[in-house]
């Protein structure tokens, strides 16, 4: 009904024109390209796979992403996440722009590795300087120095070391230890020994926990001090270099936006490349196949005529492969994502979106019948739409919740929910009004739950009968008129009878009896045996239990509505306890704001999930045929900007 009629599309072009064809189709955004038949089906065509191009694209894309991440660290003007993405005309992006972006990416990646290397270098210089610092005052080489007959080594020992013990351990050996400096924790020493004894002396020192000076400074370098000055100069240089690199990166970050655009361009190209993979090629020609919705055929033909390609459109008929594109009015279209979340309908089946949208609207409002919450929901959703200008399902969902917010407002007025019972609590606590009036136009579910339960079940009954009627309509249209009357018609008659019974007893009773009779007579019609016929007919009445349980399922409308009202009222009462004073008003607003935001968030989730559930299980369960695939046309793909 409200699913676009699909046409199978195929076109043939010269191999040289393949890329411009796919690029053109990508700009048209209305062809869902599928794999063309190839030699596997013996038609002389080979698959048009080109893994080199694909991998080159993805390599460039990952380089661009790395460059983007690097440059993002240098961007001074951050974008707010609420702002809408820029709109860019795809055709305005020239090859020279691409080349410039590719250069930016290369330079950014070079800069990244240079910055990394320079920072590492700087760190190691700083470490060296720190290691040299304690040795600055000494005019000898560290860690080791040699003369022709002696060798010396410098290093540290723990300050807690027993020097007498060390001295006695070294008495046998021809060596001297100079204590150069002593701090609280360590002793700086220099040990000089004859070459023959040096290694032994060193091992004795090591056994006392000797740590050799970790850095090197020779006489030629001007000992530790000279080396430190040189290192300091090097550090200065490295720092200057790093600053220069950072400055350059900052300047390059001016082109961060272009890099984002470049990533999107590459993504778009990858999408095009994927589509080209599904082409079939012969020596000279390329075959493209896909699906086009009926409303876009003219645009596609015009484009192909201009190119001079051969093409054909073929009615999909009832091909189960055909993808689904919803075609609904402005209101119902916003509810399409709900249907999609369940599972797209099979091609050629009934699209319930428009009928469902009406019930969704009503039930959502009943479950969250509150003017305050509805207003907040609508304002937030419509503001987000205005600011972020999202597209696709995100846009539809936000609009849907905004619309449902209006339903909540209407129901809130009917059933008296204004942030639960905030007005009454304020009147009672601040102005001392005993027994404040109820603002409900109809009745308040908290004080009269039974009428609200009746409303819930009433909506449920209408919902269920509508579902049966849809099944009736679908069967009738397919020519299964007998099935429609027997399987759906008799139940509809039975339920209408029960409904009528509540108004006019006799007429209702008669209608119910007709329904029951119809069921008994028809439900055994597939059996040959007369006893089985009757038995099956009577047994079918047992199904009333399952319909009854479906109906009772709608009592959740009352339960969820009450839950949100009571919790909201708890926050109002807690907030109202301090009474009317400056502190009292502040406390009230703090508790009121936090409490109601929390309650709204929790109940919004519950309302969304359970309204959807009533559609999915109770409503769709009666007639829905799922298993379709959503229409996925070849379009420019983007993450940061929006291509026009």
């Amino acid at each position: 009904m409200a699913i676009s009629k699909m046409y199978r599309f195929s076109a043939v072009t010269l191999r040289s024109g393949a890329e411009s064809l796919s690029a053109g189709l990508q700009r048209l955004r209305c062809v869902d390209i599928v794999t063309a038949p190839t030699s596997e089906n013996d038609c002389g065509f080979a698959p048009n796979r080109c893994p080199e191009k694909t991998s080159a694209l993805s390599a460039e894309a990952s380089r661009a992403s790395a460059a983007e991440a690097f440059l993002a660290g240098y961007v001074t003007k951050k974008k707010s996440f609420l702002s809408a993405p820029d709109e860019i005309a795809l055709d305005s992006l020239t090859d020279s722009f691409r080349r410039r972006c590719a250069k930016t990416v290369s330079r950014a990646l070079e800069l990244q590795s240079e910055v990394k290397a320079e920072a590492a270098q700087l760190q190691s210089l700083k470490n060296e300087l720190a290691a040299l610092a304690p040795w600055e005052d000494f005019r000898h080489e560290v860690p080791e120095s040699r003369t022709c007959s002696t060798a010396s080594v410098s290093g540290t020992l723990s300050a807690k070391i027993n020097t007498a013990e060390l001295g006695s351990a070294l008495t046998e050996l021809a060596c001297v230890i100079e204590e150069l400096k002593r701090t609280d924790s360590e002793v700086f020493i220099r040990m000089t020994a004859y070459k023959d004894d040096f290694s032994k002396a060193l091992s004795v020192l090591n056994s006392f926990g000797f740590i050799m000076c970790p850095c090197k400074a020779t006489a030629a370098e001007g000992f530790a001090e000279g080396k430190m000055r040189r290192t300091e100069a090097l550090i200065k240089k490295a720092e200057d270099k790093l600053t220069a690199l950072n400055e350059e990166a900052k300047a390059l970050a001016e082109r961060h936006g272009d890099t984002e655009l470049y990533i999107d361009l590459l993504m778009t190209e990858a999408a095009k490349r994927e589509a080209e993979d599904s082409f079939a090629v012969s020596e000279r020609t390329v075959v493209v196949t896909g699906w086009v919705p009926a409303e876009d055929i003219d645009r596609v033909s015009k484009f192909l005529d201009e190119r001079g390609d051969a093409y054909s459109f073929e009615d999909a008929g009832c091909d189960p492969e055909a993808p689904i594109k919803f075609k609904n009015g402005a209101f119902a279209a916003q509810f399409e994502p709900v249907v999609e979340l369940y599972s797209p309908p099979a091609y050629g089946s009934f699209d319930p979106t428009s009928i469902m949208s009406f019930f969704y609207f009503i039930i959502f409002g009943l479950m969250l019948a509150d003017v305050g919450y509805g207003l907040l929901l609508s304002v937030i959703c419509f503001a987000a739409l205005k600011l972020m200008r999202p597209e696709g399902n995100m846009k539809k969902m936000l609009t849907m919740f905004g619309i449902c917010g209006i339903s909540c407002i209407v129901m809130g007025v009917l059933f008296g929910g204004y942030f639960s019972d905030a007005p009454q609590i304020i009147m009672e606590n601040w102005f001392g009004i005993e027994d404040p009036p109820d603002f409900a136009l109809l009745f308040n579910p908290l004080t009269s739950p039974i009428p609200f339960l009746a409303v819930s079940l009433g909506v449920g009954a209408v919902h269920l009968i509508t579902a049966l009627s849809i099944k009736f309509y679908v069967l009738w249209k397919r020519g299964k008129k007998l099935d429609a009357i027997c399987d759906q018609g008799s139940w509809i008659v039975l339920f209408l009878g029960i409904g009528l019974f509540l108004i006019i007893k006799e007429a209702g009773l008669v209608l119910t009896a007709i329904g029951v009779l119809m069921l008994i007579c028809t439900q055994g019609r597939h059996e040959k045996n007369i006893i089985l016929k009757v038995f099956k007919g009577v047994a079918s009445l047992y199904d009333i239990v399952s319909y009854f349980s479906d109906l009772l399922s709608y009592s959740r409308i009352l339960a969820l509505g009450l839950a949100s009202m009571v919790v909201g009222s708890v926050f109002n009462i807690l907030g109202g306890l301090p009474g009317l004073s400056v502190i009292g008003i502040i406390v009230f607003f703090v508790i009121f704001t936090i409490g109601h935001l929390l309650n709204m968030a929790v109940n919004l989730l519950g309302t969304f999930v359970h309204t959807s559930r009533l559609q999915y299980i109770e409503f769709f369960g009666k007639f829905y045929e799922d298993g379709g695939r959503m229409f996925a046309p070849l379009t420019p793909r983007s993450k940061y900007v929006r291509f026009k």
Partner: protein, 163 residues
Amino acid sequence: MTFSQILAEIFSGQNLAILGAALAATLAGIGSAKGVGIVGEASSALLQEDPSKFGKALLLQALPGTQGIYGLVTAFLILFKIGVLGTPIELTIAEGAYFLMASLPIAIVGLFSGIAQGRVAAAGISLVAKRPGESFKAVTSAALVETYAIFALLVSLLAILLF
């Protein structure tokens, strides 16, 4: 004071009603805590692999939390009705027992359905991990479990409101 007097003091009408409120909040709360905990454990395993699925995992984790809220709603309604937050009303033992019994559906069903829903939602986490596009199906099947907690809440609420 004799033992029987002590018993009579403890099991006053007012106290029985408060016991009902306490049971509703406690048992349903335990159910939710366990349920949310089960999903939380499953989802942190998923988030190690792919932190970007936090939103979807959080949605599933929030689902078994509603039983606790239903218990809370019931508990507060009882407290309102017996005037704990305003002027207390005198309850006979039979009236107190009425509130105690009215709290039982959500207390008991809340406990078990919270845990069961947690298990379904935790299994749904693996659906989110493998096919994030289908995650709403996991939400729907977890919501099916909650139905019975909603029915229990309904019975409890109706009994309390119609007192």
